[in-house]
Amino acid sequence: MTPLGPPIRVLVVDDNETDRATFRRLLERESNGRYDVLDAATAADALRRVACERPDCLLLDYNLPDSDGLELLRHLREPAAGDAIPVVFLTGGGSESVAVEAMKRGAQDYLVKDGISARVLAHAIHGAIERVNLKARLKRATESLETQNRRLAELYETAHQFVDNVSHEFRTPLAVIKEFASIINDGLAGPVTGEQQEYLNIIGNRVDDLETMVNDMLDISKLESGLLGFYRRPCALADIVDEVRPGLQRKAAGAKVGLEISVDPSLPRVYGDPDKIGRVVINLVVNAIKFSSEGQNVRIWAEPDPDASQVTIGVTDEGPGIGTENLKQIFERFRQLGSTVRSSTKGFGLGLNIARELVRLNFGDMNVRSELGKGSTFSFTLPVAEVARFMPRYLAHVQLYRGENFFISLVAVSSPSRSETVDDVEPFLQHQIRRTDLIFPVSRTSWLLVVPTNTRDLGSLMQRIQKARDEANRNRPSGQLPVLDMHVEGTWRVDDRMDEFLAAFHAALIAKESVRA
């Protein structure tokens, strides 16, 4: 026989004296003292004994003189009753509905009273105790995970706060250095020689480098803690490149590297966050300049794929190139290739890692082709700004971040009034949504949100937006944000209902548009 622990204390609750005696006999006589049997004939007596003696398990009959077994079970399962006591419910033959109800109310098992054997009874009692124990362990494990998650989130927040403070503390002296270098350079403190101007430009360029490093640090920290907001919309690559051109030209001129830009304004528009796309171009070009020698050229180019589903943007240099064995590591953080790097190379080695993350979050892919001695080409793709092109990539992206099982919802937001501040609503909404959410303007006063969730419940999202609106309105001298109506147009499970979702999305866009017309 296996060694025994302390006896299991079983409370038999039954109004029938003969039945109580039968259970006592089955448990005591046929189980070698493994059970201590207590009994109660009424609900009131049972509750008292549960409270005083905390039995390990209850055998609970339906018929009780002062109540019934289901009612007693309800009492036992109230939150105030404390830890759940395992319950095996007893029914007469032919009363399955009572048994089902007992299971719904939290019984662990049920037995039909007629002809119970000691073995079946013992099995039911042990099973019930085990189930309650498992549930308690699961609950503790869940709680501990939640606590750890909260701690991690706090840690992320603290880390980000630290980086934010460092960034702030760096920027102020940088501003002073930059200001005074340019004051001297512009001749505001007296005449400057050509040589002095050259040196001041060096100071200026190094200040820019430091600023880039601070920005990189802040971006990585924001990417890591999910704080980097995304504002994806249809945009023209030529405009984005124009935007970053002056800074890159200064940089190239400083390194005596040629910069050639061939981005056709007639390229199809792409879907993404233009600021982030610009950031990727900057990082790739800065990287290319860093690895170029004087007199070499760096070229920014863009071309559509033959099937017009995406546009590829590339940065090609004539630098030393990267060996095959190193191609995999270059996107890792804090990684710079030592052997081929010019001695003046500087930075944290975060630029390419950030670029790749930003491309991913714009639903594209980053590629690199390189040959030692012949230069490198870094390129990335962006989907063309057509729903049929970017929506499947978006869904694949969300799947990657959220796993297989998630829902996707369409939320219609509209402002019933055409107040002056209606144009502020979209930027406001942009700040409220998470980086996996999309926003589509439907008309000047209505928007469509695409929101992935783990549940079908969007109440908290809508509450959060309304609360943020109230908060913003407490302090808006430029006019109150209008009232926002929000309703969920539909929720779909992502694995199998995507056609329905896409159809509904199109319909919502078109329906709203016809209303406006």
Binding site: R171, A175, V176, F180, I183, L188, H431, P477, G479
Partner: protein
């Protein structure tokens, strides 16, 4: 230059105030300075400058609080404000615009961006409804909603 537009600089960094004063004086502006939000607000009420260059994080009264005071005061609520800040977080930027700031220049800024922003807010008869994005990655914000109906 009695007719030169007057700019009030509010920043707690003495050397940056000095640098900006040199830059703005050379750019044809008269300059007043203050080193925190409370003094800045007093100076704004008393002198009614044509524009204010305002830092955000300052000991004592910070820039956003000063911006709130400026907006609540009849004498100052129409003075255009250019925020210059080393706090580049989105929420700071948004708060500044919500409080009616015209531009947000992250530190370190370029001298030309600073002068362009001030030229725009002081010299144009009617504010440009869509401030353009300045070059060099300086992000400018949405226009204030002081639209005039014809």
């Amino acid at each position: 230059m009695p007719d030169a537009p007057c700019i009030l600089i509010v920043d707690d960094d003495r050397e940056l105030r000095h640098g900006m004063t040199i830059r703005l004086t050379a750019g044809g502006y008269r300059v007043l300075t203050a080193h925190d939000g409370a003094l800045g607000f007093d100076a704004a009420k008393k002198n009614r400058p044509d524009a204010i260059l305002l830092d955000v994080r300052m000991p004592g009264t910070n820039g956003l609080t000063m911006l709130t005071h400026l907006r609540e005061c009849q004498a100052t609520n129409r003075i255009p404000v250019v925020v210059i800040s080393a706090s580049v977080e989105d929420h700071t930027r948004r708060q500044a615009f919500d409080l009616g700031a015209r531009y947000f220049l992250p530190k370190p800024f370029r001298a030309t961006d600073l002068i362009n922003a001030l030229d725009t807010v002081t010299r144009r008869t009617r504010p440009d409804p869509q401030p353009r994005q300045a070059s060099g990655g300086t992000t400018l914000g949405p226009a204030p909603t002081t639209t005039l109906t014809p």
